[in-house]
Amino acid sequence: MRMPKLTAFLTATAVFASALAATADEVHVLNWKGYGADEPWAIAAFEKATGNKVVNDFFNSEQEMLTKLRTNPGLYDVVMINAAFNDQALAEKLIQPIDVSKIPNYADISPDKAGSPMLNHDGKVFGVPWVWGLTALAINEKAFETPPTSIGEMWNEAHKGRVTIRDDAVEAVQFGAIATGQNINDIKDMEAVKAKLTSLMPQIRTFWSSENDWNQMVASNQIDIGTYWSGSADRAKTHFKLPVSLVIPGEGAVAWLDAFSIPVGAKNVAGAEAFINYMIDPKFYVEWVTKVGAPVSANAKAVAALPEDAFNRKVMGDPEVAKRIQFQAPITDAQREAYLALWQELKVNVK
C-alpha cells in the first residue's frame, strides 16, 4: 500500500462520509467541552434567532483538534483555535479566510486583539478573536493571610508538597521562563529554566490536568498554590464557592488568545458567520459570565457590559496587568518536542 494513495483514499472517504452527515442548516462546531459554545441556553437562543441547528463536537487537546480537522474535511463549520495554533492550521490549509463584513460584532473587537499578527495573513482574517485569559497563579485562600505577589512563592519551603502545576510541557517551560525573567516566546537560557524547574519539583504535590483536578484538591485542602487559568479560578470562586483567588505575579503571566475560524470546505459558511457573531455578542458574554464564569471577551463592548467590579473588567482590564502579561506565540514542532523531552526528564528524575 503506497502512502500518498492511502492519504488520498482517506480524504475521499472522509469527504464522502461527511457529505452524508452534514445538512445545510446545521452548524457543526468544534471546541473544548464546557467552553461556552455548548451551553444549552446559548444554543437554544442562537437556534431561535437564526434557525440554524448547532451540532457540537469536542477535542481534548490542540493536537487532537488539528487531527479532527485533517481527517474530517467538510464536517465542521466553525472551529475554535488557540491563536498560537492558527499558523499551523493555515499552513496545512485547514482553515479559510473569513469575510468579517458579515460579522457585525467584529467592529467592536479591541484593535490589539483583532490586529494580532497570529490571526491575520496577507490582509486576510483567519481567526476572529473570541476570549483571552491568563495562566497565572491561584491560591488556596485558607493557606494565606495576604495573597503573595511573587511567582517565587511556589518555591517557598512553607508550601513544600502543597504546590501544583499543570502536566503540560509547554506551559511548564514558559512558566520557568517567567520565573527566570525571560521572554516566554524567545527563551535564551534554557539551562536556567531547567534548573529553576528542577528545584520546583520537590515542592510539588501532583500535576493537574483538568479544572476538576484543581477544584477537587482545593476542596479537600491538599494544595496551597499552583498555576491555574484565570477563567477557571474565577469560576471556582464565583460558581463553585471554593476558597480560590487568582494572583497575577509581579514577574508576569502567560496569556493566551482563543479565536474562531472557519475550516476549508465548510458547508454552512453563513451559519458559521452567524454563530461567530453570536459568540462575540455582549449579550451572550454577560450571560456566560454570570451563569457559568468565563475568560475575558475580546469584544471591548462585551467587557464594558459587565458590572464595574467584575473580575474580568476590574483585574483583567487593569493596564498594570496588561503590561506584565506575555501572549503565547506559535511554537514549532521541534521546540515542542524539546520542551517535552525536558519535561519528561524532570518528571523521571523526581522519582
Binding site: 487532537e64 485533517r70 479537600s220
Partner: protein, 289 residues
C-alpha cells in the same frame, strides 16, 4: 495429565479452522491490520496525515536506545507490573481457593459474580473514589485514627503505594476468577485421598493443588502483568509526581506532540519486551507445575 493431547484428538489446522476462523478473522480486521498500519508508521519520519514530506527511518527505534530515559521508565514499568502481579497472586489465590473449595451452593455462585461487578462502574470514577480514601484527612486516615489509641498521619495519595493499591484493586478479580476456574476443577476426592495418606495441608498445597491450578495462575498473571506494564491512567492520577511510567511517555508522544511514529515505535518495543518475558516465563512456570 489433562492438557496434553490425547490419542483421539484430531490433528491439523484444517479441522480446527471452522471454530478458529471467526475469532481470528475478527481480530485480523479490527486489531492486526490496524496495528500493521501502526508498525508501518513507526518506521516513518513524519506522519503523512500532516501533509509533510516523509521517508523511512529506523530513528524512532534507535532513540529508545540512545536515551536512558526510556530504558529507566521501561524498567520502572516492568517492576510495577511484577509487583502488581505478585500482590494479585497473594491476595487473589487464597480467595479463589476459598471460593472453589470452601464455599458451597448459591453463595459461591453469587460471590463469583460479585467479584467482577465493581468493574462495571466507571474506571475514572473509581480512581477518584480511591483518592478520597487515601488522602490525608481521607477515609482511611479518619477511620484508623478513630480506632487507634495514638495519632497517626496517613497520606498515601500521590505516591507509589497509591498506584499499587489502585492497580491491584483493578486487576485482582482477574486472578480470583482464573484461579477459581482451575481450582474448582480439582477433584475433592483427590485432596481427601492425599490427606488420608498422611500428607500435611502444606504438602498437599505444594504437591497437588498449586501444580494442578497452575494454568489459571499463569493465565491470570498474563492478563494482569501485560496491561499493567503499559498502564498510564492510574499512575498519572494516583501517583502524582511519581506517576510517570513508560505508558505515560507513549501517551505524551501521541497526545502532546503528535509524534505518532515515535509513540508507535515505543509501544512496539514494549510489546516485544512483554512477549519475550512471557516466552521466557512460560517454560519455567510449566516446569514448576
Amino acid at each position: 495429565m489433562a492438557g496434553q493431547v490425547a490419542t483421539g484428538s484430531r490433528r491439523g489446522l484444517r479441522s480446527a479452522l471452522p471454530l478458529l476462523l471467526p475469532a481470528y478473522l475478527w481480530l485480523t480486521v479490527a486489531i492486526f491490520l490496524p496495528l500493521s498500519a501502526m508498525v508501518f508508521f513507526s518506521f516513518m519520519t513524519e506522519l503523512p496525515l500532516s501533509g509533510k514530506a516523509w521517508s523511512f527511518t529506523l530513528d524512532n527505534y534507535a532513540s529508545f536506545f540512545s536515551q536512558p530515559l526510556y530504558l529507566t521508565l521501561l524498567a520502572a514499568s516492568l517492576r510495577l507490573g511484577l509487583e502488581v502481579t505478585l500482590w494479585c497472586v497473594v491476595i487473589g489465590y487464597p480467595a479463589a481457593y476459598v471460593l472453589a473449595k470452601v464455599l458451597r451452593g448459591r453463595s459461591r455462585e453469587a460471590i463469583f459474580l460479585l467479584v467482577i461487578l465493581p468493574f462495571w462502574s466507571n474506571g475514572l470514577v473509581r480512581i477518584f473514589s480511591w483518592a478520597m480514601v487515601l488522602r490525608e484527612g481521607g477515609i482511611l486516615d479518619t477511620a484508623l485514627n478513630a480506632v487507634l489509641p495514638f495519632k497517626i498521619n496517613i497520606d498515601l495519595m500521590y505516591s507509589y503505594p497509591a498506584v499499587i493499591i489502585g492497580l491491584v484493586h483493578s486487576y485482582v478479580p482477574y486472578m480470583v476468577l482464573t484461579c477459581y476456574l482451575t481450582l474448582q476443577a480439582i477433584d475433592d476426592s483427590l485432596i481427601e485421598a492425599g490427606r488420608s495418606l498422611g500428607a500435611s495441608r502444606l504438602q498437599m498445597l505444594k504437591r497437588v493443588i498449586i501444580p494442578l491450578s497452575m494454568p489459571g495462575l499463569v493465565a491470570g498473571a498474563a492478563l494482569i502483568f501485560v496491561p499493567v506494564v503499559g498502564s498510564f491512567m492510574e499512575p498519572r492520577i494516583l501517583g502524582g509526581r511519581t506517576g510517570t511510567f513508560y505508558g505515560t511517555i507513549i501517551e505524551d508522544q501521541f497526545v502532546a506532540v503528535f509524534n505518532w511514529p515515535l509513540g508507535a515505535a515505543l509501544s512496539f518495543i514494549l510489546l516485544a519486551v512483554v512477549l519475550v518475558i512471557l516466552a521466557l516465563a512460560s517454560p519455567v512456570l510449566r516446569r514448576a507445575a
